[in-house]
């Protein structure tokens, strides 16, 4: 292989309570497409952040172009020839393509913009060669996600980047656009640009990857040439994907899943052929006392299903709650019907960060704390205290501001809020994202208790172990539709699940690869 661009030796990153990377070593060769795969939480983003200066390493060494590399900021990494295509693209919607291309590169003289014409010409040429269809005067806000990516790539090329990191670039773009992106990546190869490519869609690796590194639980499991991997599976792509999945998952077993009595009775929530802007013909049913899991990649439609139930997105098709067809105009209507949601983003959607624990817990339903129509501070305090004890929130008291709590305790406040609304159906979107292991376990057992108490619970999660540990049945999503519904149990095949949600089961995979 060619010379080494990046050499990683014993790289370790500690966060309080979590070891995000432990002793990771591998090297990235110049002018290759180096894929990195792994489950959510395997350490992919942390690795990228350390390489590009967004975070500092705890220990270990990295060399870049043969020199010691420990960037203190993303700016330093950019100057050294690294560019990152984040999922959230770094373009300004209100400006035109041309303005975006020169953004941050204006030189000013006496306060007037003066752009470097030679540099600009290079950028325009790069953009033309990547996608001649993008006009310089178009507003970036009117372009598609894929076109915006192209703009970012053009910027990266023209600033002489050696290395472009792409973080799940295909999560939000159409199949046609994926093909175009791959053509661009091949062009980058001709320009001697190295690409680090992070993806969940495993078949893509066989289309464009040269090398693949598998991470699991912060450790490097395997770094291999894609051709070799393919050959070892007698060039059967499905088999090769399976091999990757095996490496990604290790031995994921539902060690904590306790088989529960299959809940009987009529469904309390039922979808028949529900569609929305992002969902296609979704059908499922939820029973009293059941924990139902939705699993799929980013963009598969988990959050969209929660939003559809909760009256946030317009739907077609039929939704039945306790047997009756219902359409909720807004969350208030859903809450009145006994449905409550723990949203995906705790700080921006789940909490009133300027208020106290007490005020957060009671916001969904204030009936229990009223006396003669007015809020009773005494009743409210008692109620808040009872939740603090019941879900074990570690706090100085109910008057503490929620912003000051740890992630796990904040999540318990959000859960208490939903419990206070006395809901019979709970929608939990990523209920334990970004919280420490102890709190995670506590929240899981709370969820089981609630189900035992007769609530119907839907867990939307991108962490397979969470789904396997908690859920009685698992609905697998891909691209906005239901691919399969499985019953959880000892013989649960996590491998099959990954194949389905990464769309690498036989015929489909080949169709896309072709």
């Amino acid at each position: 292989m060619a010379e080494t661009l990046i050499e990683i030796q014993g790289l370790t990153k500690n966060f309080p309570g979590v070891m995000a990377l432990r002793d990771v070593s591998f090297s990235i060769a110049r002018n290759t497409v180096h894929c990195i795969v792994g489950e959510n939480g395997a350490g992919k983003s942390t690795l990228i952040k350390i390489l590009t200066g967004a975070q500092r390493k705890t220990s270990g060494s990295v060399t870049y172009n043969g020199k010691d590399w420990d960037p203190r900021s993303t700016g330093e990494a950019m100057k050294a020839g690294m560019s990152v295509l984040f999922q959230e693209l770094n373009v300004v919607d209100q400006l035109t393509v041309e303005q975006n291309l020169t953004l941050g590169k204006e030189k000013s003289r006496f306060g007037f913009e003066r752009r470097n014409e030679a540099q600009f010409a290079l950028t325009v040429e790069a953009l033309r060669s990547l996608d001649p269809g993008i006009g310089l005067q178009e507003r970036v806000g009117n372009l598609s996600v894929a076109q915006r990516q192209v703009i970012e790539i053009a910027k990266a090329i023209s600033s002489n980047s050696d290395l472009i990191v792409m973080d799940e670039p295909t999560a939000a773009i159409s199949d046609e656009e994926v093909k175009r992106l791959f053509a661009i990546i091949r062009q980058l190869h001709e320009r001697n640009v190295t690409v680090i490519y992070i993806t969940h869609r495993l078949t893509e690796i066989f289309d464009i990857g040269d090398i693949v590194t598998v991470l699991r639980d912060g450790q490097m499991i395997e770094t291999r040439s894609v051709r070799e991997l393919s050959a070892s599976c007698s060039d059967d792509e499905v088999e090769a994907c399976s091999e990757l999945i095996r490496m990604m998952l290790g031995k994921v077993v539902a060690e904590r899943y306790v088989p529960r009595e299959p809940p009987s009775g009529d469904p309390i929530l039922e979808f028949s052929n529900v569609s929305s802007a992002k969902l296609k013909d979704v059908s499922f049913e939820l029973r009293r006392g059941e924990i139902l899991g939705f699993y799929g990649l980013v963009g598969a439609g988990k959050t969209e299903i929660a939003r559809a139930i909760y009256g946030l997105d317009a739907i077609t098709g039929t939704m039945r709650v306790k047997g009756r067809p219902r359409v909720f105009k807004n969350p208030r209507a859903a809450i009145s019907a006994g449905i409550a949601m723990v949203p995906e983003e705790r700080r921006t959607e789940g909490l009133l960060t300027k208020l106290t624990i007490r005020e957060n817990i009671t916001i969904m339903d204030m009936k229990p704390i009223k006396r003669f129509g007015f809020l009773s501070r005494v009743k409210e305090r008692q109620l808040a205290r009872s939740f603090i004890e019941r879900v074990r929130i570690a706090t100085t008291g109910e008057e503490q501001n929620v912003a000051k709590l740890s992630g796990g305790n904040q999540q318990k406040v959000v859960l208490s809020k939903c419990l206070n609304a006395a809901s019979s159906i709970l929608l939990l979107d990523e209920p334990t994202r970004g919280i420490d292991v102890g709190a995670k376990e506590e929240i899981h057992s709370l969820i089981r208790q609630l189900a035992d108490g007769g609530a119907g619970i839907i867990v939307f999660s991108s962490e397979l172990p969470e789904i396997l540990n908690l859920c009685d049945r698992i609905v697998l999503l891909y691209n906005g539709s239901v691919r399969k519904t499985l019953k959880n149990g000892a013989e649960m095949d996590s491998h099959l699940i990954m194949q389905i949600v990464t769309d690498s089961t036989g015929s489909d995979a080949r169709a896309q690869a072709g």
Binding site: N330, S336, I363, F374, L375
Partner: protein, 327 residues
Amino acid sequence: MTDRPALALRTRSSANLDPQKIIMVGILMLIVVAFTMATPKFLTYVNLVNVFMNIALILLTGSAATLLMIAGNFDLSVGSVVAFTGVMHALMSKYGVPTNISILLAALIGSLCGLINGTLVTRLKITPVIATLGMMYVARGGAFLVARADGGANIASGLPPDFQALGRATVGPVPIPLLLVALIVVIFAVIQNRTSFGRYAYAIGGNPVCAALSGVRSSRVVTILYVITGLLTGLSGAIFVSRIGTGVPRIGNGFEFDVIIAIVLGGTSIYGGIGSVTGTVIGALIVGFVANGLNLLDVQAFYQTVIKGFILVAAILLNRVIKEKVE
């Protein structure tokens, strides 16, 4: 364990005394002492009634506007709505509408202005600055048009004898509007502290996304707040013209800023989510006393305006410094 209504007047963070409020009360006392020593005219019955009447008008609108600002909105049109409703009240009284009914109608006109503001902001998604700035111009122009349609610059003649009653009647030594305002302040402090509606205002101003996901119907709450603000502004308008005994379309110029300065001095965040009605009381007292003291000291109106500008900016800076010190 008793839950006495008196508690309702306590501030939100009464458990740990709010340093911001203590400092504001200190500043208020300093101002009073300074003016008392500077001029003998300050601490007299006539002057105090005069000051408190001005403060009362700020507070009447300001107590509702505080909740509106806590919910992340504000209303720039209140000065013009005072003028419009005041002139309308004079007009209606002049043409035979019984004074008391006319006062209620003025309040109703004010709440209609509020309903329009609320609808523009919540349904048509126009930012509060623009929506209420529009209303500010329309209502001011309307006030002048009404006066002209009546045939003069002001509506001065032909008003019934009881027209001035509202502005001048007293219970013992205390003018009726002061009692009314005291009652309104108590009611709004209770709404703020003791009702789900008040809590919703904090939720909407603090995190609108979370509020919506928690089932708060933000559009409805915000619209109602604009309507209530408009209603009390209409009442202020009626009291205003009743005090001067004439329907003058020029009144209330800059009133919206007096109200906003009082609210901000009282510790309410212009971004919403934080604040209190009791704070606004302190803020209104400071605004009222400063204006009155400067008048008594014969400071020119132009200088007074400059000083007000300084106070507003200084208050916001002070708020921030205190907040950072506390955290």
